[in-house]
Symmetry: C2
Subunit: 320 residues, 2 copies
């Protein structure tokens, strides 16, 4: 299987001028070995006092949130839509989370002084029934663990004319979205603006809660297996996801309520145009359907990063 | 069982000067027959053109969102916390949703003209396996139905010195919160500011999606069975919920991101003070735990109504 090895998965921009690192065919599975969001520097908790030496701080421009790519998908033309199938995400045997002093929603709090940092916490990953970490466990401490839910934080095609940093770039071509539903068996739909699509993937989290509250989740190395389909001549307003049981319309924006409103209206449009739901019925689903959900995936204050929201409806309501 | 009959469940304010309609003991089950949010006027779809005759519009002040109460709970003193156990919610055989022209997130849209209104839609409720509507079905049309999830939209004790309208009043004493988790088997915790607590309940929805997008969900009459416990001398920052499997810290505020942040910080405080979670661990749960959820329950633009959010964590992570 073709792959981008970790040492070559250290791009820090989405840039259409990058030379493709991989050429694949439609339907062909390929692997990206992703580096963690700290560029591989943080392997133990005792680096916390050296927090200003982290690649995310030390360099100008900073080397945070590396991505592997671009991957050139044969047959993709500008104006096509890329369907990315997330086939497998195997994470490393550990991840980290960290806080810099003064940063994050409570970094400047008087009441919550104990969370100010600097701190680095290593989250140990245990393999699960599959014999990999895909269904393993993460350990907060010796008493508390949870089932790992590996997800891709950053996934994008190259933007049309912009060059965006992988850490904060976001648009209808994807970016650093930090969506917990960007997981195995999810299909992710991205607009393409260049020949080959030019796909980038990185910033895998072994686990993340809603909002990614202070901005670094369980950041980890991984091996991501993907394959792509091409939908010719199609544009969507923003990234869409399809899970086994539901569809999700994403939107990244601030303030949060505007992100929510746009995600919902875009979901209505999706239902009307592709599932032949009556406009008024689509509107009523958004207000009445007890299974309609809004997911606040990411609400991190970091540069001009926008908050990412998803409006989700089960597919069972879309079949007539 | 003591009850407030529907004809007496037509208060439109939370007002500590109201004479109690019911006196109950701690632990005693009682019933409130709630009227729907339209004050019982909307029983068929053909009233849509008469939308300005609705009690929510016709009267000054408007007669929208009636509540039953106050219920005086023996033994409650100012400064106590009330635990309200929602034992049963049986809804009527129908509910309604409606839109006034120009109102709601798409009421002024050029693109979505078909949803402008006026429209009234009657949602038929079918009884379920229990022989009641508690687990019944709601019908959007002849092809699409969903399982009803009856919930209490408005629940409050009388505020300390304010008199608040039942339609838009919200505070640490409750109010029109529109939280889909305010359902059977939920325990709701409300601060008490007056002798007897003075509890009001109304605005039951047979179903509601996240955000209650255009502001009227499946509005219905109901019979709500409740009982209360008293927790002496306790104050909480805002309303808390306890479900069977999780705890939820609510917060109502604008903008939405501030509501989310306060709900999360209040959940951390709850975890630290009552479950002996380390402060830093509580913070990390909020960012890393893949089962930590933020629920955008209500995001309706109506007068000075604030948006209601809940931060939720499963109880299994709180046991050592």
């Amino acid at each position: 299987m073709k792959r981008i090895v970790r040492a070559n998965a250290l791009e820090y921009e989405f840039d259409f001028r990058h030379k493709p690192k991989l050429h694949v065919s439609e339907g062909e599975s390929f692997v990206i070995e992703t580096e963690d969001a700290g560029s591989g520097y943080i392997r133990s908790a005792d680096v916390a006092p050296k927090i200003d030496d982290f690649p995310t701080r030390k360099f100008t421009p900073p080397k945070g949130n590396p991505v592997g790519g671009p991957v050139f998908i044969d047959g993709v033309e500008p104006g096509d839509l890329l369907e990315v199938n997330i086939e497998k995400i195997v994470v490393d045997d550990q991840g980290f989370t960290n806080i810099r002093p003064g940063v994050g929603p409570l970094g400047d709090s008087y009441k919550w002084q104990s969370v100010r940092g600097p701190f680095v916490k290593i989250i140990k990953h245990e393999i699960g029934p599959s014999g990999t970490t895909r269904d393993g466990k993460g350990f907060l401490n010796d008493k508390i663990s949870w089932d790992l839910k590996p997800m891709i934080g950053t996934i994008a095609t190259a933007p049309e004319r912009e060059v965006e940093t992988s850490a904060i770039g976001q648009g209808p071509w994807g970016g650093n979205l930090d969506v917990r539903d960007m997981k195995e068996k999810t299909k992710c739909y991205l607009n393409c603006y260049h020949k080959g699509g030019l796909l980038y993937v990185g910033d895998v989290h072994a686990s993340q809660g809603d909002t990614e509250f202070y901005g670094t989740a369980d950041e980890t190395r991984s091996e991501v297996t993907l394959s792509c389909k091409i939908i010719k001549n199609k544009r969507i307003p923003f990234v869409r996801l399809e899970k086994e049981e539901s569809i999700i319309s994403l939107y990244s924006y601030r303030p949060l309520e505007d992100a929510v409103e746009s995600a919902i209206v875009n979901l209505m449009e999706w239902m009307v145009t592709e599932y032949e739901i009556d406009e008024k019925d689509a509107y009523m689903h958004m207000c009445l359907n007890p299974d309609f959900r809004v997911n606040v995936y990411q609400m991190v204050r970091l540069g001009n990063l926008e908050y990412t929201v998803g409006a989700e409806i089960p597919k069972k309501y879309l079949r007539h």
